[in-house]
């Protein structure tokens, strides 16, 4: 019949992991406790705060609403894969320059959400950015600096595209 624990093979930020885990383990806990990737944060554990947002096969998902058992064979991208201190993603650079983070708790979720959003909409209006991040809660910034940072990142990424062409 069914099993209370399962084997999964997942690729996270380009690295393949094979693990045996309880069926009831949430993806958020799997990333943090099994893989020690603690950049993905757990804020509400019922899908309303967005702090746990990751990308599954390129699409954003609430990792607290996904069972690790469900991601067998899937490619996951977490905040750790976005960039490094020495090699920041334009989004990270923009958040640094525009003070888009204070305590940083919401930030990984917002960056993963913004990454997906800017891939779909590279030239957003402020209103569109506002709506895109409306599923992520921030208790520190009052959101305006976050919106400015996303718009700045969009500009940076458009400039990079132009240079490549």
């Amino acid at each position: 019949m069914g099993s209370t624990s399962v084997d999964i093979t997942v690729t996270v930020n380009g690295k393949v992991y094979r693990k045996h885990i309880p069926s009831r383990m949430l993806l958020s806990d799997f990333l943090r406790q099994e893989l020690y990737l603690t950049g993905t944060h757990v804020g509400c554990e019922h899908g309303v705060c967005g702090a746990c947002t990751v990308l599954l096969d390129g699409k954003s998902a609430r990792s607290c609403l996904t069972f690790a058992a469900q991601v067998d064979g899937i490619e996951i991208e977490t905040i750790e894969g976005l960039g490094t201190a020495k090699n920041m993603h334009p989004l990270q650079k923009a958040f640094w320059e525009k003070h888009g983070m204070q305590c940083g708790f919401c930030t990984p979720g917002i960056l993963m959400t913004a990454k997906e959003f800017l891939a779909k909409n590279p030239s957003p209006t402020e209103e569109e950015v506002r709506e895109a991040i409306s599923g992520n809660l921030c208790r520190c910034t009052g959101y305006q600096a976050i919106i400015d940072a996303v718009l700045e990142a969009a500009q940076k990424m458009r400039n990079l595209q132009e240079v490549q062409v």
């Binding site: 069926s23 019922h46 967005g50 609403l65 069972f67 469900q70």
Partner: protein, 290 residues
């Protein structure tokens, strides 16, 4: 809190799923996107012993036109439906309502089928299904049955689906050309559950309303469509006072809830305002389509 332990299964065919439901239906839950179920499991408001993951069933992902109707497989995600040109053409009310459904991340995983089967009282899509006279296709291991939307939504988180059954498809008759539609919702934040919402489809002939379909959600234990409200509008000349009469008729018939988000008085006000707005907009759109 963390969810209680369960046995996990991921069948590869619909037949497997249905046979599992036949054997274990009362102790099992289906999981597709999990955007409604997993929050409940994380709170331990739902503690299924068996979790049947239907994400392996690509046969239920479809969105297609069949003759004069829109056919949507139960596993089609909100993201796909919100972006779909076919949906915009055949059921523009649904496209409009999608502006209010959750957030992009939730829409990536959440499915229309899961949303309807969960039947949250403040959810948008049940109200849309009622307004467009959708038919829900439900299967068990041996048979299939077709349920009209008005019989499907039965109460708080309660639908016509029995524990051994599964919703597999939604069928929506194409919105006739000479109709106008509108959808309005009020919530605390963009994407939150509604404090109240109204959906309306109106057909205008000459300067009279030939037919109207108005549905309400977020005000009570489920989405509602009221014959008395639709009949009140039929054959009448559109006007704000007519629309207000329709709203008052709805208020008299719906048991309006009171909670931390909105009290009864505010919800009544919402019914009045949203009914007037949606009917006015639907009539304008119907008239400009003519």
């Amino acid at each position: 809190m963390k969810p209680a332990a369960f046995e996990y299964l991921k069948p590869t065919t619909l037949e497997n799923v249905l046979s599992l439901l036949a054997q274990h239906g009362s102790s099992a839950k289906l999981i597709a996107g999990g955007q409604s179920l997993v929050p409940m499991m994380n709170f331990r408001l739902a503690t299924p012993e068996i979790l049947i993951d239907i994400n392996g069933l690509s046969s239920l992902d479809f969105v297609r036109r069949e003759g004069d109707s829109l056919r949507i497989g139960a596993r089609a995600t909100h993201a796909v439906l919100a972006d779909s040109t076919l949906v915009r053409q055949l059921c523009p009310l649904m496209s409009e309502a999608y502006k209010y459904v959750a957030h992009a991340t939730v829409r990536n995983r959440g499915t229309l089928g899961g949303n309807l089967a969960h039947a949250d009282p403040a959810s948008e899509m049940p109200a849309v299904m009622l307004a467009v006279n959708a038919t829900l296709v439900i299967r068990n291991a041996t048979a299939e049955r077709l349920i009209p939307a008005k019989e499907f939504f039965q109460g708080l988180y309660a639908t016509a689906i029995t524990p051994v059954e599964m919703l597999v498809e939604v069928r929506i008759p194409a919105t006739p050309r000479l109709t106008g539609y509108a959808f309005e919702e009020v919530s605390s934040r963009q994407g939150d559950f509604a404090m109240g919402l109204v959906a309306a489809i109106v057909e205008v002939r000459g300067d009279l309303i030939n037919s109207a379909a108005v549905s309400f959600a977020g005000f009570s234990d489920r989405a509602y469509r009221l014959e008395a409200v639709d009949d009140l509008l039929k054959g009448k000349k559109p006007s704000d006072s007519l629309f207000l009469d329709a709203a008052e008729a709805a208020i008299a018939l719906i048991e309006i809830s009171q909670d931390a988000h909105a009290d009864r008085e505010y919800r009544c006000d919402l019914i009045r305002t949203l009914t007037r707005r949606t009917l006015a907009k639907a009539v304008t759109r119907a008239t400009s389509n003519a």
